[in-house]
């Protein structure tokens, strides 16, 4: 009897969250998978077409272009962001633990993507942006950061490195704080050089945190949209049509919800694989501290 009562109380406590889970996560997930096997233009009813969307995706040059562009973005974004953040975290850990400095480095992360994108869109303007003014003051040719096919993706990647580096540094910093001090003391007594200490102690002990940070940032990076949407909108030509932009345009530009759903199923599968591979091969859930 008491158990049944407990169950009823638990149900009461969990009911709102459960409604949210079922209505806005589980049902849409199933519906999204279903729609990916249909042709659906919002008007009328979805028509079942089996695997047609998927076979079309694999023959779609724009899809492969979107994947290539997205991968290029992820690679530039993640490599620079992680290396810079790791460097900053080590420096903060070593010399500057003040909350003020950490707070200041966090500022860009607190501001919306849209704001950060517009700000840099202005600062990187070809004609009168301050960055190009500086470049031409140095005597170098101006760069069409958002306007050239070659520069657009690196530019967008760097804008987001700027937004995320402080936040990522704080995550890594928290991981560094958790490494027990006595490990360093032993290393120093043994006469290990700072380089040796870094590679043999800091990195292995930091690895679980780094893997977690990588999984989270890579998954976020694959879903880049806001920055592209307010700056290049996919252009010039197809240079910045990242996968989420392509899905958005298919669904809301061309009203092709079936195809857009198939694309998002593929994105979902890719993200799950990426997370799995990272956890598996970088052994993110094991610590070396035993």
């Amino acid at each position: 009897m008491a158990k049944l009562r407990d169950f009823r109380i638990a149900l009461l406590f969990i009911l709102p969250a459960l409604i949210g889970l079922v209505v806005f996560s589980l049902v849409p997930t199933i519906r999204g998978i279903y729609l990916s096997f249909t042709e659906y233009s919002i008007l009328g009813e979805p028509t079942w077409i089996g695997l047609d969307n998927y076979t079309a995706v694999f023959k779609d040059d724009l899809f492969w272009n979107a994947m290539a562009v997205t991968l290029q973005y992820v690679a530039i974004n993640i490599v620079f962001q992680t290396v810079i953040a790791l460097g900053l975290a080590l420096l903060m850990h070593r010399v500057a633990k003040s909350t003020f400095i950490r707070g200041a480095l966090l500022l860009p992360f607190l501001v919306a993507n849209v704001i950060v994108a517009l700000l840099w869109f202005w600062m990187l303007d070809y004609q009168i942006g301050i960055v190009n003014e500086f470049i031409s003051w140095l005597g170098l040719p101006r760069v069409a950061f958002f306007g050239s096919e070659q520069w657009a993706i690196p530019t967008i990647a760097f804008v987001n490195v700027w937004r995320h580096m402080g936040y990522t540094a704080l995550l890594i910093f928290a991981g560094l704080q958790a490494i027990p001090r006595h490990v360093y003391e032993v290393a120093s007594l043994d006469g290990a050089s700072p380089t040796r200490t870094f590679w043999s102690i800091t990195m292995p002990l930091l690895r679980p945190v780094l893997v977690l940070v990588l999984v989270v940032t890579v998954i976020g990076s694959f879903q880049v949209f806001d920055t592209v949407a307010v700056t290049t909108q996919g252009g010039p030509v197809n240079a910045t049509r990242v996968i989420q932009m392509y899905i958005y345009q298919k669904a809301f530009g061309e009203s092709d919800f079936g195809y857009a759903s198939a694309l998002s199923v593929i994105l979902f599968v890719i993200l799950a694989l990426v997370a799995f591979v990272q956890m598996k091969f970088l052994k993110g859930n094991e610590s070396d501290l035993d």
Binding site: F13, A104, A174
Partner: protein, 300 residues
């Protein structure tokens, strides 16, 4: 408080100086764009072009802010390089405040209730249900956004406040996880004593658990609020109508209304300041809490 973590050589420590120099550069790179934002917003568009490298406002003017709040006539706005289209950031500001406050309040309260059920009550299937919640953290936003958009559209809720807020209102898996972890680490003694005195779960939750968990709940609420304030994709899909537009969507519309030729940069930067300032104020007031809460559990 020890001053050094690593044993370092004394005397003139070039490593240390180098480290500080790098930190100073990182700070400068972080802060400068914000100053540039302010400088641009306080200049007029005409002088921006002629004094593009001037570090101070080219010619001090509040025109851009007036334009953003719809306090200029169309002629004035066009004369100063604006598009002349009606723009009212007061309305967007109000919508953003309403949207972020309501979704944060609902999400944090309902997630805390769920966390209580997961951490304190025993019921069949508890752990299985919890792992389903956790699993939803893996689903990319766009994947559920399409079907959710269709549902909201079919219910006739496009461009309504309900359509905008409902998907966020009931829970976030991260919030449940975050609060459950905290509750598991919190002592139950007071709760058990209250239980022996015959207190009901509802009372225990609202009068003991919530007050005791005030610090993590506040941190979570702050992080959630900032996230909601910055949300763009969903509001773009369902809330593009003027009356329901939030700041992020308003900003992108403002940008796309740029007149032929040069965009209204000072207006645009004034608008981004309007959108960023509330968050910066919150951060100045409670920043320490946020900064120190970022770590393992703060991964989001």
């Amino acid at each position: 408080m020890t001053t050094q973590t690593l044993p370092t050589r004394k005397a003139l420590d070039w490593h240390r100086i180098g480290a500080w120099a790098v930190i100073a550069v990182a700070l400068a790179v972080t802060i400068f764009p914000f100053l540039w934002m302010l400088r641009t917003a306080l200049s007029s568009n005409h002088s921006l072009a002629s004094n593009s490298a001037n570090l101070l406002p080219a010619d001090f003017s509040w025109g851009a802010f007036k334009r953003v709040f719809g306090m200029q006539t169309t002629e004035e706005a066009i004369a100063e390089g604006g598009s002349g289209a009606a723009i009212d950031f007061w309305l967007y500001l109000r919508n953003s405040i309403l949207f972020s406050t309501v979704t944060t309040a609902g999400q944090v309260l309902f997630s805390a209730m769920a966390a209580y059920a997961f951490a304190r009550l025993r019921w069949p299937g508890r752990d299985a249900v919890f792992s389903v919640f956790l699993a939803t953290m893996m689903i990319p936003g766009i994947f559920t956004a399409l079907p959710n958009f269709l549902m909201v559209k079919n219910l006739g809720l496009l461009n309504t406040f309900a359509g905008l807020t409902l998907p966020y209102l009931f829970m976030s898996a991260f919030a449940i996880f975050f609060l459950r972890q905290f509750l598991l680490s919190m002592s139950r003694e007071v709760e058990e004593a209250a239980m022996l005195d015959g207190a009901k779960h509802g009372r225990i939750f609202f009068q003991i658990v919530l007050p005791n968990a005030a610090a993590p709940v506040a941190t979570l609420a702050l992080l959630t609020f900032i996230g909601q304030w910055n949300e763009y994709f969903w509001p773009l899909l369902v809330g593009n109508d003027e009356s329901i537009r939030v700041l992020t969507v308003g900003l992108s519309v403002f940008k796309s209304q740029s007149p032929q030729g040069a965009p209204d940069w000072s207006g645009l930067m004034a608008a981004t300041i309007v959108a960023a300032v509330p968050i910066l104020i919150l951060f100045l007031a409670f920043g320490k809490k946020v900064v120190n809460s970022i770590g393992f559990s703060g991964i989001k």
